[in-house]
Symmetry: C2
Subunit: 351 residues, 2 copies
């Protein structure tokens, strides 16, 4: 090892957007969604192990920037994620994200990854994993209300993990529906474009809502929702942003990731602070019951939790091993003698 060339310790594997897309196609979208769901389920099942810091949010008029850290005691992870609903007007993503894993024992990062695509994948994988537990038996049709960036991922994850065969699309913007239908063509799903939310929900056992406006909206009203369905509510995910009429929440059994966070960010921000909810990890470990009757409405009040990102990063870290789908980033100063940082800098002076 020379005094100038960084050692292996100085490098952090980085998965760029380009490499993430290559990894997705190397693995296949559906197998990747299923693989992510396995990791997410595994981590939900060891829920009590995790350091569950609430996310650290920096709010502004335009949106929010958040850091979502967690740790299982051996590996530490965090995600940087923004949410700026008006971004699309300027041709920007509403949500962009990247994430990091580090070794708890020495604090050295071990993975840096884009997470815009990965978050879309893990959100969909989580939804489908939860639907596998909560949707009525034999569910094969999903209403997909809101056909933005997340909709195709949701549809395909529900196919890969929860047995959905038909997706019924609706968006107030017909162009979004057209785009989603085009993107889903030829992927083995029966895709139906619908003219109204009501039409999309015909015959659907799973109803997914995923709209983006930062406001209290009512995408679903009470009379639209029949008995026995599973509602997968994705879009109500920050303070002041909900999609469901409170009356639907009253009729539903509500399942959440991490109650302290969901009560602030989820649909249940509309309810009393002690409104009963069931924690997903308890359903997965068998400590709590999921669906108990055919007539029951189950509701996954999804807001996204740090452990899901952690699981997704763990999955990516395992998958890139032995591949070329990452680059080594010279991100950590690593002098030969750790006390000799200055010497390293000084020796790097041009001759």
């Amino acid at each position: 090892m020379s005094n100038l060339a960084p050692s292996d310790k100085a490098y952090v594997p980085f998965v760029s957007v380009d490499n993430m897309m290559k990894l997705v196609h190397h693995i296949g979208i559906e197998p990747m969604l299923a693989g992510l769901a396995d990791y997410i389920e595994e981590d939900f099942k060891r829920w009590e192990l995790f350091d569950k810091t609430p996310r650290v949010a920096s709010h502004s008029e335009e949106g929010v920037i958040e850091l979502m850290p967690t740790s299982d005691g051996e590996v530490y992870g965090f995600k940087y994620v923004n949410g700026h609903p008006k971004n699309t007007r300027e041709g920007l993503q509403t949500v962009t994200a990247f994430g990091l894993l580090a070794n708890v024992g020495n604090g050295y990062p071990v993975l840096l990854s884009e997470m815009t695509i990965l978050t879309a994948l893990r959100t969909a994988a989580t939804s489908a994993l939860v639907a596998k537990y909560l949707a009525p038996k034999g569910a094969d049709t999903m209403a997909m209300i809101g056909n933005g960036a997340q909709s195709e991922f949701q549809s395909l994850a529900m196919k890969a993990i929860a047995g959905i065969k038909t997706v019924r699309l609706f968006d107030i913007d017909k162009g979004a529906t057209r785009k989603a239908a085009k993107n889903l063509a030829g992927l083995g799903l029966n895709v139906v474009e619908c003219d109204s939310a009501e039409a999309a929900m015909e015959g659907a056992q799973i109803i997914t809502t995923c709209t983006a406006d930062k406001q209290y909206a009512t995408i679903l009203t009470d009379n639209m929702v029949g008995a026995g369905v599973h509602i997968n509510a994705i879009g109500g995910d920050c303070p002041g942003k909900t999609e469901l009429a409170p009356a639907i929440l009253e009729r539903s059994d509500i399942f959440v990731e991490f109650p302290p966070q969901t009560r602030i960010e989820g649909e249940i921000q509309q309810m009393a602070p002690d409104h009963p909810v069931t924690e997903l990890w308890q359903v997965m470990t068998g400590a709590a019951r999921g669906r108990t009757s055919d007539a029951q409405i189950t509701l996954f009040d999804s807001v996204g939790f740090a452990t899901e990102d952690f699981s997704a990063l763990r999955y990516v870290r395992a998958q890139i091993e032995g591949t070329d789908y990452f680059q080594d980033l010279d991100m950590l100063a690593d002098p030969d003698d750790p006390r000799d940082l200055f010497g390293m800098v000084r020796r790097a002076a041009p001759k």
Copy 2:
């Protein structure tokens, strides 16, 4: 713009360790320390503007991993930093760090940078900036107690910013002193290697303590500290880690960055929770007095605050403009149509 090539928006300028060292030599170490001090001072002077979230720490037996976010309302920044005192035994850095700036308006990152070197520089620049305000007039000699990775940066910053001409080095490990003396040779400082802390302090108007053990240590005892000096206490920077005898704190006027953080992490964790302190930003704006007499002992109880990292990243962002000292990182997914993330992924499939 093709459907596959990322647009400009997808790229985040990244300053690697190698490029940071190149930037340091391009600017010059002393001008860079002075430039950093200017940015740090500027941000201290607009202190009330900043979103001062406490740092988010994940503690383990071996050390700590922290996220330090802040924002001035237009730019958001955070630093990832670990502290693992036992790392040096395995040839690793005690502290490694990287940081990020993002646009508050749309949440898009605008800079990712190594911060192991940058933190060393900003810590030293902050110390020297504070000494400029608090050290006795005409101070020209500094005792540097603890000759680890930070010591040369401290010495050079005190030269560049606070007018120090002589540095008197001491470390319980003579090898560390040797290393620091060698690194500082030929840089315009009079460097004296000393056999004891007492010897190092002879004739010194500024006393810098910077030792790394994670424990309550007493690097300075009460009888070692004479009247009129300025103490720059760097190493007491996390719960359970201090360097000064409480009696010294009793005799000193204590200046701190952000009281709620310093009371937990700094030397004053040894004192009552209401022990009087002065906030540095108030000294810099003129709202509070700094040194008021020749006999007074001033003490900077330094723990490092998020705004200093923010200032340092701002400085780097300004300095790399028009240079080659960064690379563009493909970190943000940026589809032509922001709602078409899935389409972007699908179109990236190999033919």
